[in-house]
């Protein structure tokens, strides 16, 4: 296969995943959330149990008027949704789906790349918050910035723990080094990473930046139509990314009970969707934290736990 064809194929695959996985997660969220609340969820669009609901939503968003408030900073306002979406697309490039070549772009320091790029998303939040010329947006943006900066620390620390355990920063390398007993050894790091990841993508119960009962819709208040859809899409790609990272770092990626070599991609996808289900489950079960509880959880629980995990990881590594 010539190089350019392979490259095109890989990028097409990533873009395909980028466009379908969030939709699947979104539809799952519709359905799971509905059933957890004793409802049925969407039932009409597409016929069978409303499978096409999100496509219909997308069509609706496309048709809606694209409003930019008069007082807004136009270019910044219009650019923000794209900036919110782009980092996640880049992250999907390096997440390994299966053993060997099943990754769009194997990267030596994949973990570092992922953490660095995910961190860029906060710029988009600040852009949209400030450019909206709306006090609720600004409040939401400031909340988001404080939250994202704070939770980046436990996120990176817990990821560092697993990188330390595996002795590599490459995501594929981490999966290869993973052993089932790491589930126990790295359990605190996994919990911290998952919770911090939830906060990074601003999912309930960590959705203070968009808290609709307090801030209208936070930094997304002024957005309409396609730009708003981009923000929503970013949220769902965020779920996929966090679930995939949790899978790859802590759940052994493509390692399964059997058939790793051929069914690896299936194991990865299964685990990703299982984690995504937990993300949705948490959203339904827990109420939103208060702003001070959020910071308290970060600095008084997650950071110490992740530091302790680092010490534990180092101790076990030295002992082995």
């Amino acid at each position: 296969m010539p190089l350019w064809l392979e490259l095109t194929l890989r990028i097409a695959a990533v873009v395909g995943a980028f466009l379908t996985l969030p939709l699947i997660v979104g539809q799952t969220e519709h359905k799971v959330m509905a059933h957890m609340q004793g409802r049925l969820g969407p039932m009409y669009a597409g016929g069978f149990h409303g499978w096409a609901q999100l496509i219909a939503d997308g069509l609706k968003f496309v048709q809606k008027e694209d409003i930019t408030p008069r007082a807004a900073d136009r270019p910044v306002f219009r650019l923000a949704p794209v900036v919110a979406l782009l980092p996640y697309l880049l992250v999907l490039l390096v997440i390994p789906l299966g053993p060997g070549d099943l990754v769009a772009q194997p990267l030596d320091i994949g973990l570092f790349f992922v953490l660095a790029v995910v961190g860029v998303g906060v710029v988009a939040v600040l852009m949209s918050a400030w450019a909206s010329a709306n006090k609720y947006s600004l409040l939401g943006g400031l909340r988001a910035a404080a939250q994202l900066l704070g939770y980046e620390l436990p996120l990176v620390l817990s990821a560092a723990s697993v990188a330390m355990a595996a002795g590599t920063l490459s995501l594929s390398g981490i999966v290869e080094a993973w052993q089932p007993w790491w589930l126990l050894w790295q359990a605190p790091a996994m919990a911290v990473f998952f919770v911090a990841g939830l906060a990074e993508i601003r999912r309930p119960p960590f959705d203070m930046p968009v808290a609709d009962s307090e801030l209208v819709f936070g930094y997304m208040t002024e957005y309409t139509g396609l730009r708003f859809a981009f923000f929503l899409l970013a949220e769902y790609v965020g779920i996929v990314v966090i679930a995939a990272l949790t899978t790859v770092l802590f759940l052994g990626g493509w390692q399964g009970p059997f058939g790793d070599a051929h069914l690896g991609w299936l194991w990865t996808l299964l685990k990703v969707f299982a984690v995504a289900f937990v993300v949705i489950w948490l959203r339904v079960s827990y109420p939103r934290l208060r702003e001070d509880q959020l910071q308290r959880l970060c600095w008084l629980v997650l950071v110490p736990v992740s530091l302790g995990q680092l010490v534990l990881t180092a101790a076990v590594r030295v002992a082995l």
Binding site: D73, V76, F112, A116, G119, V123, W130, A133, A145, L149
Partner: protein
């Protein structure tokens, strides 16, 4: 001119252009956003120069944290939307000194290197840099951690003016 040269040229132009916008724009927040572009372009330059780890550290620390902190501060100090008139002082001496420094250095460096070419060194991967940091440069590294701690404590002390006041005072 190789492909790498062209990339360097383009990224350098973006970096310098965005940098110029940072220091000349009259929109406070946009200055921060141009800074993002500039820093990202510099990260791109690092990548072309095979300094992988440094590039991603640049993205993680600079774009993800430093610029966000700066933007945060801009918003906390009530930046207006749109142009502000009182950002600059009269700038001829500044232009003179800045232009002089930049162009002077540029001329010096051009004179030193001309149009010579060099081979790119081995990539600065995490493994190699880690070996060097923890091999030859351990002491500075440890000093840096102390510096960071000091900065952390300093920032906390500075941003809490109530420290030292009685508990009742703090609760007020």
């Amino acid at each position: 001119m190789t492909g790498a040269d062209l990339l360097l040229l383009a990224l350098g132009a973006v970096a310098v252009g965005a940098g110029l916008l940072v220091v000349t724009t009259r929109h406070l927040v946009r200055a921060g956003l141009y800074l993002v572009v500039c820093l990202a372009a510099v990260a791109g330059l690092y990548l072309v120069l095979t300094a992988e780890l440094v590039a991603w550290v640049q993205v993680l620390i600079y774009v993800g944290a430093v610029v966000v902190l700066l933007l945060f501060a801009v918003m906390l100090t009530r930046a207006p939307i749109g142009a502000s008139d009182d950002l600059d002082r009269p700038g001829w001496p500044a232009a003179l000194v800045g232009g002089g420094a930049g162009l002077g250095l540029a001329v010096l460096l051009v004179d030193a290197f001309r149009w010579s070419t060099v081979e790119l060194p081995e990539a600065g991967t995490a493994e190699r840099l880690g070996a060097i940091v923890f091999g030859s440069w351990v002491l500075p590294f440890e000093l840096l951690s102390v510096l960071l701690l000091a900065a952390l404590i300093g920032a906390i002390v500075l941003s809490r003016p109530e420290i030292g006041a009685s508990p009742e005072e703090e609760r007020r």
